[in-house]
């Protein structure tokens, strides 16, 4: 089967954004054992920051990325310090933390709904449902969002790599992820690394959210739908490694976009609403083949792979 360039382009844009979201989800899961069901709404929060900047100050969404990054980081830190940490300090189990993030998701949803009414009221333009494609432009034959999403993901991955491997704090962060008690013994304030990971996760989500409206229509509820793909990507990656989230994000993102597209050419555009089912199928197949996720697979032990490698 051959895909039009446009479809492939869309799939890559979507996957780049999904990777940002699944890396964020994975990082906070590793450091604080919180499965954050509000990660999708964090992204929509970013979309609304971009919309606000656009409507109130005429700032193009691409320029809103740094602002979204900071606000998203602060949202992540606030959520951790005021909602999750008090529960963790009381030794809440993972189910309780999960329910807390689900409740948080509902609160964010309510807030975004109310805010979109407010924003729509003062700007006299619909804010309950919006898309940024009219604001995008072409660079040569390629849409700007394709290039921007690639630049953004490249910068973020490179900075993340430099941070984790080349700085003292990054090594401390990796040490705390592996064995927090031992990191404490070495004099690392592990709590700082947890707070930082929530900042990082929140900011990655809102950056993704800033760009997502170039790809799809945003409504306050979008986060609750996209969370399915985020979790699928992280779980495919094994939930325990940043690399896993990266690879999982691309596997889920690309298959979701291409499979749905392929089905829609056969069955009509009605199947588009079922795109998340594709993510879930990828997830289920993955869990059957490799219950520990991609990073749990002992690749060198797989015979056919060994014969290729040697």
């Amino acid at each position: 089967m051959a895909f039009e360039a446009e479809v492939l382009e869309g799939a890559i844009i979507y996957s780049n954004l999904l990777v940002l979201l699944s890396i964020g989800l994975t990082i906070t899961y590793i450091t604080t054992a919180v499965p954050n069901f509000a990660q999708g709404s964090f992204a929509v929060f970013g979309s609304y920051i971009a919309l606000t900047m656009l409507r109130l100050f005429g700032i193009h969404p691409y320029y809103s990325i740094p602002i979204a990054l900071i606000f998203g980081g602060l949202l992540g830190v606030a959520v951790y310090l005021f909602i999750l940490k008090p529960l963790i300090d009381r030794e809440a189990e993972i189910v309780i933390l999960m329910i807390a993030t689900l409740a948080l998701d509902l609160i964010l949803l309510g807030f975004l709904g109310a805010y979109s009414d407010y924003l729509g009221g003062i700007t006299k333009k619909a804010a309950k449902k919006f898309i940024f494609t009219p604001y995008d432009f072409n660079i040569g034959n390629i849409s700007a969002i394709f290039i921007v999403s690639i630049i953004v993901i490249a910068i973020i991955l490179a900075s993340l790599f430099l941070l984790l491997y080349k700085t003292k704090f990054g090594v401390a962060l990796r040490a705390s992820m592996e064995n927090p008690a031992l990191a404490e013994i070495m004099g690392v304030n592990v709590e700082y690394t947890r707070i930082f990971s929530w900042f990082l996760s929140g900011s990655l989500a809102t950056v993704a959210g800033c760009l997502l409206p170039f790809r799809q229509e945003i409504v306050p509820l979008t986060g609750s739908i996209i969370i399915v793909s985020i979790f699928a990507a992280s779980i495919v990656g094994g939930l325990a490694s940043i690399y896993g989230a990266l690879i999982g994000g691309y596997i889920v993102g690309i298959s979701e976009s291409l499979v749905t597209y392929q089905l829609s050419t056969i069955l009509g555009s009605g199947v588009l609403v079922y795109s998340k089912v594709v993510s879930l199928i990828v997830l289920v197949v993955m869990l059957i083949l490799a219950p520990q996720g991609l990073t749990g697979v002992k690749w060198r032990k797989i015979k056919w792979l060994k014969s290729i490698l040697s």
Binding site: R174, A175, A183, E184, I185, G187, N189, V190
Partner: protein, 236 residues
């Protein structure tokens, strides 16, 4: 000097240590011996703030540190080498040594790492390898080396010679004596090799079922008429 006063500690509700009074004198080696499961490791964890303290106090140089978070105890000059999980498997040997000196200045860190590598020159061959790929003995060397990198006055070692062949264990015992004599460190040593531990120690505590069953000079315990019996109780 480090003191525990009527220390009752354990894990959450679980009560492991009962009314432990101990005084660890400066610039000497104090051995903690006792049967498996008697609470030796828990004792060190309680001193470092990694076990739950139900009542009683831990004082360091006269200051009550019972509620100080562990990373700040590191800054106060207390170092602790855990019995298990004492290196980061996913980090390289070099990164392990660097993180061990997390609280140090850059130049100082380099000096400390050089010092640790002087003591364990064999580690120089593995600097870029992940610690998880080292043999049990090599990993233990790395663990002790990380304890040396942390600049400390008070060093707690939980079974540093576990997993080492007799020859290397002897090497480590020599190093521990050297740390006391040359660097004037205060050392709290938990050991299964009771005989050797007591020979190099100044003072000793015997823990049985979470209570202090003997405290005094190490050679007294060594010559104690019940020592053989204690050892039998200890070693099986």
């Amino acid at each position: 000097m480090l003191q525990t006063k009527r220390l009752n500690a354990g894990y959450k509700e679980l009560h492991i240590l009962f009314d432990v009074d101990a005084t660890i004198n400066s610039k000497g080696i104090t051995a903690v011996v006792g049967p498996n499961g008697s609470g030796k490791s828990t004792f060190l964890k309680a001193i470092f703030g990694l076990a739950t303290v139900h009542s009683g106090k831990v004082e360091y140089n006269g200051e009550d540190i019972t509620k100080v978070p562990p990373h700040n105890r590191t800054k106060m000059g207390i170092a602790y080498l855990p019995q298990v999980d004492n290196v980061f498997s996913n980090l390289t040997v070099e990164e392990n040594l660097k993180i061990a000196g997390y609280t140090l200045e850059k130049t100082e860190l380099k000096d400390r790492i050089d010092l640790a590598l002087d003591v364990f020159p064999e580690l120089q061959n593995f600097m870029k390898r992940k610690a998880g790929t080292l043999s049990g003995g090599e990993r233990q060397f790395l663990a002790i080396a990380t304890a040396l990198v942390r600049k400390s006055e008070f060093l707690m070692l939980d079974e540093p010679t576990a997993q080492l062949s007799p020859k290397f264990a002897e090497h480590v015992f020599d190093k521990i004596v050297e740390l006391r004599d040359k660097l004037k460190l205060t050392i709290l040593l938990v050991e299964q090799n009771v005989q050797r531990a007591l020979e190099i120690s100044d003072n000793a505590y015997l823990l049985v079922s979470g209570r202090v069953a003997f405290d005094g000079k190490a050679n007294e315990l060594l010559e104690h008429e019940k020592f053989e019996k204690l050892c039998m109780g200890i070693q099986d």
